[in-house]
């Protein structure tokens, strides 16, 4: 065990992946000498060489498309997209090619790509640097979509993602890159499996489901709620496609109340999928209609406005009050 930041935990996970399998390659913009704009690949080119940790020309379709060709001949490319908002030039290659090639070839060709994306807001960034595009990918058959929320998961999950024979979209909560935690680097194999959710705070009254950057906020919300006598169970989804519905279902059968929260916009989002699926699975157990606490359905606003846009502890607690049918703990309004 050692204490490290989330970004360092990914770095050490990538290092292990490079050591474990000579077919693992890192490719992306400024990931070599610079170590990436967030320093996630810091030192890896120096230790593994420019042929394994490659600065590519500045073109996202080019990065993903050449990674596809490398995968055809047995390589395991790990592509870094510099920022969430710049994945769209590579979107076509991901949706049209990466997601479908295993299917189209009847399983003859594997696409074990990992596509790393620093995502989400909260760091006061300029335009296109704070987006949460995960639902686009979760909507696409053939892609695994995961997000880590803490250093240990970051380390374990990046190694599992690289070892996985399916393409994995790996969303890194950029505002939590500097969060520190204990990390056991001697993990073995697939436990916990990359597509399992985790209960990160136990509770009986409300199930609060989230992932990535908002897990920490949700835990704080659970602590605040418990001060008011409401027991909130927080689930870190970890995998957004597939979703571990069994874990969420078991929790909601117990609590009878569901709140889903994510930074991404509401319409057609992960929250909608969870609300619909869990309502169907738990209809007779529900005490209240599921609530969603999300970014608004607006283009990501300028940094001075982002605190209004991002779900925070208060908005989560409001939703908890609503599903509990309680007076709003802040405004005193009826739930």
């Amino acid at each position: 065990m050692s204490s490290m930041t989330l970004s360092r935990a990914i770095n050490s996970g990538l290092r292990r992946a490079l050591e474990d399998d000579p077919k693992v390659l890192l490719m992306g913009e400024d990931i070599g000498t610079l170590g990436g704009v967030f320093r996630v690949t810091d030192g890896l080119q120096k230790d593994f060489g420019a042929h394994r940790v490659m600065d590519t020309p500045l073109a996202e379709a080019g990065i993903i498309g050449t990674a596809v060709g490398l995968a055809y001949r047995g390589y395991r490319p790990v592509c870094e997209i510099q920022f969430d908002g710049f994945i769209y030039p590579g979107f076509d290659q991901i949706i049209t090619q990466v997601a479908k090639l295993h299917y189209r070839t009847g399983g003859a060709v594997k696409m074990p790509l990992t596509i790393r994306v620093p995502f989400g807001g909260g760091i006061g960034a300029v335009e296109h640097h704070s987006e949460s595009p995960e639902a686009y990918f979760a909507h696409t058959a053939g892609l695994r979509v995961v997000s880590c929320s803490n250093p240990q998961d970051a380390h374990t999950m990046i190694r599992q993602a690289v070892a996985c024979d399916d393409p994995v979209m790996f969303f890194e909560p950029k505002r939590r890159y500097w969060t520190k935690g204990e990390v056991d680097e001697e993990i073995t194999g697939q436990t916990p499996s990359i597509d399992s959710a985790a209960i990160v705070a136990a509770g009986d009254d409300v199930t609060l489901v989230t992932y990535g950057p908002l897990v920490a906020t949700a835990r704080d919300a659970a602590i605040a709620a418990s001060d008011e006598g409401v027991s909130v169970e927080v689930i870190d989804l970890r995998s957004l496609s597939p979703i571990d519905f069994a874990t969420v279902e078991a929790s909601v059968r117990k609590t009878g109340r569901l709140v889903v929260t994510h930074e991404a916009s509401q319409f057609g989002g992960i929250g909608a999928e969870i609300a619909a699926s869990i309502t169907r699975r738990c209809f007779y157990y529900l005490e209240a209609a599921p609530e969603r606490v999300t970014g608004f359905d607006v283009p990501y606003p300028a940094a001075e406005l982002e605190d209004h846009h991002l779900p925070d502890l208060d908005r989560m607690l409001d939703a908890v009050d609503r599903v509990m049918d309680r007076h709003n703990s802040l405004s005193g309004r009826e739930g």
Binding site: G69, D166, P242
Partner: protein, 337 residues
């Protein structure tokens, strides 16, 4: 490069085979056996001449939707190839790893980058025992050359010195849009210079010229000198696809004037003039091609449909609980079990 008489005869047999299978496929579509097909009438020399050069023990080819002639020259099973046009399985049912032919690509320019990645991998692996590199060849059209991916691919390839051959079939048209409204400057090959890449523009209806140019490009790439562009100037004599109506954008007179001499006839004249082949050979080639087309037709008819349950396979390495559930529900509703 000198091709032996046997090679010239083989090229002719291949072109005749491709011509017949291609025309047969159009009639199969008219007869309802295939839902759709993209004919390559007029591009036999470009496709056979280039496909013939591929060493299927080491190279790899990324086709578009119109490369039946390349697939045939590479020895791909034509029934498995046609299964994509039969709407049995997207991309075709041949195994890309074994045939060295990537699945059929309907996205214009979609797999050009894949060839660059494959070739970069070849470089990373190091040369084969003979000191040369395996080569990736990617096909695309004049229309596809407008795609950003093609620019990215050429730039990546040149930066990485990847052993890749960009084989452009400039057939005058992208559906209804002529090359002059598509390719600024008039030549895709000319763009190569901007990437510091070598290129050659070749008479795409002269199979020998195509094979020679492609061989030179392969030698260049094999030697580790990086990528090359081969632009074969040819003409799409038929419609874009079996649902196209060229009368809406070009006249028959225009077609006749622009098409030039038929590439199959051209090779035949050359073989006759050089005394390489005689009438019985030509007759035999046609008979063989007809028999082959019949065999392929029988194979397509025997294909049948894939079981509906297969729709749920191959999405991931292992299916997910949600997908299992959808498959179960589908089975229940469709088979009442």
């Amino acid at each position: 490069m000198n091709f032996s008489n046997e090679t010239l005869k083989e090229l002719y047999r291949l072109m005749v085979s491709v011509r017949h299978v291609d025309q047969a496929a159009v009639s199969w579509q008219r007869q309802g056996l295939l839902p759709a097909y993209a004919p390559e009438l007029g591009q036999e020399a470009a496709q056979v001449g280039s496909g013939y050069v591929v060493d299927t023990s080491r190279d790899f080819v990324f086709p578009t939707y119109r490369e039946m002639g390349v697939a045939r020259a590479m020895g791909v099973d034509m029934v498995e190839y046609m299964s994509t046009h039969k709407a049995t399985w997207h991309g075709g049912m041949y195994n890309p790893v074994e045939t060295r032919l990537a699945p059929i690509q309907a996205v214009v320019g979609g797999s050009v980058l894949h060839a660059v990645g494959w070739a970069h991998g070849a470089r990373l692996n190091g040369p084969d025992d003979d000191g040369t590199y395996p080569v990736a060849m990617t096909y695309f059209g004049d229309g596809a050359s407008s795609q950003g991916d093609v620019h990215e691919a050429m730039n990546f390839a040149a930066v990485m010195a990847a052993p890749v051959v960009f084989f452009v079939q400039n057939n005058g048209w992208a559906i209804s849009v002529p090359t002059e409204r598509q390719v600024a400057g008039g030549s895709v090959a000319a763009r190569a210079a901007g990437y510091g890449m070598e290129s050659v523009q070749v008479d795409g209806d002269d199979v020998v010229a195509v094979a020679e140019a492609t061989s030179r490009a392969f030698e260049h790439a094999r030697a580790g000198k990086g990528p090359m562009v081969v632009e074969a100037m040819t003409y799409r004599r038929g419609p874009h696809s079996t649902s196209d109506d060229p009368g809406r954008y070009r006249t028959l007179d225009q077609e006749r004037d622009d098409a030039g001499e038929d590439p199959v006839t051209r090779l035949r004249k050359r073989l006759e003039a050089d005394g390489v082949a005689d009438e019985p050979f030509f007759t035999r080639a046609v008979e063989d091609a007809k028999a082959e087309a019949e065999q392929i037709r029988a194979g397509i008819e025997a294909l049948g449909s894939r079981p509906g349950s297969e729709m749920f396979e191959y999405v991931f390495q292992e299916s997910t609980p949600a997908l299992h559930e959808q498959a179960r529900q589908w089975r229940e509703e469709s088979e009442h079990v």
